[in-house]
């Protein structure tokens, strides 16, 4: 069955929008599972595979990129706004911090120092990249 080019374009845009929603939900699931795994290790992960979750995440991500490129959609960077002033970003940063501290608690002093330094450098790099954007 032939689809009218206009409808095809609309269908692809609809798929693109839906895939973005799926990506958001999938990241939400992934983050939720990571948080659960860090507080009750092994309890939930025994019933699912993190490898599969990550693979599906990448599959969705690549589909979004592919559909976006195909339809000439430019990624919106929100560069005009300071994303670090948004409540969502502050919440994400805080949640990440809690998860990082939680994962460091079982390490020794030396390992904690090295890991903290590495995290600090990576965060600094991200900040620089975002601010430059």
């Amino acid at each position: 069955m032939d689809i009218h080019p206009n409808n095809k374009k609309q269908l692809e845009l609809l798929l693109y929008k839906l895939l973005n929603d799926i990506l958001f939900l999938w990241i939400f699931v992934f983050a939720g599972m990571l948080a659960l795994e860090s507080v009750v290790p092994g309890f939930f992960s025994a019933h699912l595979s993190f490898t599969k979750i990550i693979l599906v995440l990448f599959a969705i991500l690549f589909s979004v990129i592919w559909l976006g490129k195909r339809n000439g959609i430019i990624f919106e960077t929100h560069s005009e706004k300071n994303i670090f002033k948004s409540k969502g970003m502050l919440f994400l940063l805080l949640a990440s911090l809690v998860l990082i501290i939680n994962s460091l608690r079982s390490l020794g002093l030396f390992e904690t120092a090295i890991a903290s330094l590495a995290i600090f450098i990576i965060l600094l790099f991200f900040l620089k990249t975002f601010l430059r954007g």
């Binding site: 269908l11 929008k17 839906l18 973005n20 939900l25 699912l48 959609i73 919106e76």
Partner: protein
Amino acid sequence: MKFDLTKNVVLKPSWQKRYFFARLVLLVLFIAVGIYFFYRVFFPTRDFFINFSNLKDKENNLEINDAQTDKIILNAYSSEKFSDTKVQISSKEDFPDASGNIVMIRKTYQAFAYPAAPVPASFPEGSLEKNNGQYYIVSGGKLRRFQSPAIATALGYQKDAFEEATAEELRFNETGSNIVDVKSFSDGTLFLIDGIYYQMKNQVLNPFVSEKAYLSRYEKNQALAKDKGFLKNYAVSEDVIGFADGTLLSFDIGVFVVVSGKVMPFNNPATFLSFGYNWDDIIPASEEEVGLYGRDKLFSSDRPHPDGTVFFASDLGKYYLISSGQKYEIKGAEILRKYLKKNPITVQEKSLDFQNYCQLKKTWWPLNSCRCSASIKNLAEFFGNNYQFETQKSPGLTLAEAEIKFYRNLNWENMRDILAEIKLKFLANYGYSPK
């Protein structure tokens, strides 16, 4: 829906409507899958099956043990806790069915259910013991007494290398001839020569792969220190002695257990824990130490604990040693010390009692099948990963298939149990283990 991640992509009004409904479906689907996932986590089910016509069928995950003439035991392995079970046994066409048969259920560890040996555990090879001023060595499985303490001293033994044992403990080894010769060493004797440990076997010196391997079996002071020249007196075997059976090793990112001269990797942490093992008992090994062994298949839940495993029955305070498919009671603190190189596996003696049962009743479908169900909630308190279902072999009964289903009923009581379990795991994760 206000929340739009792709505001820059604008659809035509008719397609916007479709998008709205598609999002709604997606959201409902997401919530439904979420609810289903948590339902499966909180109220898990497990199915086990065996096809008796083809016991090598890869789909069989239920084991049968019909070695005994009067009964059949079906083994299912899971470390999860369930509230109920359903058993279905189908007979071959034109053969009598199993209706009326009683199915008895227990949960324990496979190796702990081994038959009890008629004798208690005895001292291992090479043990040095003393009692009432007499000195002994275990050689070739027999207890040999040094004719006099002077002979032991002349052979190079330090008196503190001998551990005090009770007369009763010494009786558990067969008695061998006395040692009168000060020039030759008995089999089982341990040596430390130039930093390498050896054990005498048939008058040949067998080296240990490493000190760690030696310490998985013996203590440092048991070995006689000799200089390099001593090696000229005896042939040195190429067969290297590795870690004791049942030793837990780690190498790279894997954790292994030593089983009859091979190392078997655990497939995941849950399997490791399902055997009652303790993470603190893992010995980090080198490539050479692990490379000494051939690698075997995965050490999965359906394997029994290997030889050398010590069980501690917490309800009776008894210890047992697993060896060659038998369970030896360890009587005496000194013998226990010899075998307890790592934490014992805690179990309950009561787990060997068949606590639950149900009676098979004929069903209309599948044909020639019988079914029964039983509550197994009380089995949750027992340690073990082996659910055993025992039924009698009635005359003419020829089995075709058996199916066992475990599940946790959806009710508030089970929900409360699972929440309590999560709470315990959460507290344990932060170092607050319940007393």
